[in-house]
Amino acid sequence: MKKFGYVSVEHYVPFMQEFAEELEKGNIIATKCKTCGTEYFPPREECGNCYSTDMEKIKIEPEGTLVTYTIIHVPPESHANMAPYIVAVGEFNNGLRTMAHLVGVTSMDDLKVGRKIKIVVQKLENDRIVYKFVPA
């Protein structure tokens, strides 16, 4: 069973397994409520706006914008040997935002808030999978 992210602590519901399987195929999935149209990214299987569970999958387009970032120097126990790493917020599909690591930074220009980025899928060890941002 694939799991999302570098670490996880919660019970892995089928929805998250599906999400990870789609990731493996290269698809980064968001969801949209068929009843009221609300879009969710990260995706949800339930609509908090109208309480419908009738959701459809939509795809996240790879091109996006860097909203903000930080460089983690003192990590939590679960990321003990990974620091420093860049945690960033990216915006995709004109308004859907998520968090991920930003990698492939080679100059300060790559860290400019507002710059173009891409979201890409990366397989990790231990059957884990994740999405990442890279400067576009």
Binding site: F4, T70, I72, P76, E77, M99
Partner: protein, 388 residues
């Protein structure tokens, strides 16, 4: 208005308290309250307790209210534990206010407490990271400083807020914390020291971050018409407002303001019938320096983007526009999660009664104090306005 009062308050020493467990810290705060109370017998006068503890895992004790009320001699009486992450303390006070105002209980003892240093710093960082969304943000190793660093980067970018402005907050809070005998880290620091400390989560360095502390605070909340029985100088709860925000910080349209704090402040001001200009002293949630700057803006002490300037100009020292965190704040006094919001009430209680003069940090003639307490990154915010 003015239906509910605080009539006694106490606090433990904050710090890395190797000498004390969770139960000892709670006892110490209550003992301090008893010793400073004017005319109250806990055994006879208290009808119920509300216990604020944020995290079980720091200490290992499940359902911690049970052991705490036993330790402080409140067995038999009703109790509830409340939790709202770092806003746990004010959630406890709000709950006590409601219990009293509703008529269910006349007089309620509130104790906020946290024992955080029994686990390693890495473990504490881990536990606090798990208060972020464990499904979508925790898997990226974003720490608590990291969440606020995301806001700092954006605030600096959008408004030109500088590292110097951030550090000014830290310098001020250490200046006052050094004067507070119950503060965790009692030493003044220079702007240079603040600006050059080791990086925690860029752009926040060590002196931008609050401490991991052990501590407890306690207050007695009662009906206004009983208040004078317990003290000649009760402090009244004049306004309470609360708000919340999305679980994932990344999803928020704005990363330079806490929507929940704006909602909370507006509600509290409205209930109290006052505005930002009426506040004599404010206890704001400076878990990070950027958080204090954003608080200035969310509370209306500064316009959006101008919080950093307010700090740099020293307008939040005593004698400035509004005295903020003159007990040292979370930065220097310390931040035992469950205790913090109750400690804010403790400080305002003493300030409004003029009891801090001997510590050289009294806000003279303070009539109205504001407490701003933020859980996680704004998923829980309580603003409480107290008046004489």
């Amino acid at each position: 208005m003015n239906d509910v009062a605080i009539v006694a308050a106490g606090q433990s020493k904050f710090g890395k308290r190797t000498d004390a467990g969770l139960r000892n810290l709670a006892f110490e705060a209550v003992k301090d309250l008893v010793e400073h109370a004017d005319n109250i017998s806990l055994k006879e006068d208290i009808d119920a307790t509300v216990i604020g503890v944020a995290g079980d895992e720091f200490n290992g004790q499940g359902a911690p209210a049970a052991v705490l009320i036993d330790e402080i001699g409140m067995v038999g009486k009703p109790t509830i534990r409340v939790e709202s992450a770092c806003a746990t303390g004010t959630a406890a006070i709000k709950t006590a206010y409601s219990l009293v105002k509703s008529g269910l209980h006349d007089t309620v003892l509130v104790v906020g407490v946290e024992k955080m240093t029994a686990v390693s710093t890495a473990k504490a960082t881990e536990l606090m990271a798990r208060a972020g969304d464990i499904r979508w943000e925790y898997p990226f190793g974003c720490t608590f400083p990291g969440f606020y660093a995301l806001m700092a980067t954006k605030h600096m970018e959008e408004y030109g807020t500088t590292k110097e402005m951030l550090s000014s907050v830290s310098v001020k809070n250490h200046f006052y914390g050094a004067k507070n005998p119950k503060a965790h880290l009692r030493k003044e620091i220079t702007l240079e020291e603040a600006m050059n400390s080791i990086m925690i989560a860029h752009p926040l360095n060590l002196y931008d971050c609050s401490l991991i502390s052990d501590g407890a605070a306690a207050v007695v909340v009662t009906k206004a018409d009983l208040a004078k029985k317990y003290t000649d100088t009760p402090i009244y709860v004049r306004g309470i407002g609360s708000g919340s925000d999305t679980m994932q910080i990344s999803r928020r349209p704005s990363l330079t303001s806490l929507t929940g704090a704006r909602i909370a402040a507006q509600a509290a001001y409205k209930m109290a019938g006052v505005g930002p200009e009426d506040i004599d002293l404010a206890e704001v949630h400076d878990c990070f320096t950027i958080a204090e700057i954003i608080a200035y803006e969310d509370l209306g002490f500064a316009k959006p983007g101008e919080g950093g300037k307010l700090a740099l100009e020293g307008q939040t020292y005593i004698g400035g526009k509004v005295a903020v965190n003159v007990d040292g704040g979370l930065k220097s006094k310390g931040h035992p999660l469950g205790a913090t919001g109750v400690s804010q009430a403790y400080e305002i209680f003493r300030q409004l009664r003029g009891e801090v003069a001997s510590e050289g940090r009294q806000v003279d003639g303070a009539e109205i104090g504001l407490s701003h307490n933020v859980g996680q990154t704004g998923q829980f915010v309580n603003v409480i306005i107290y008046g004489r």
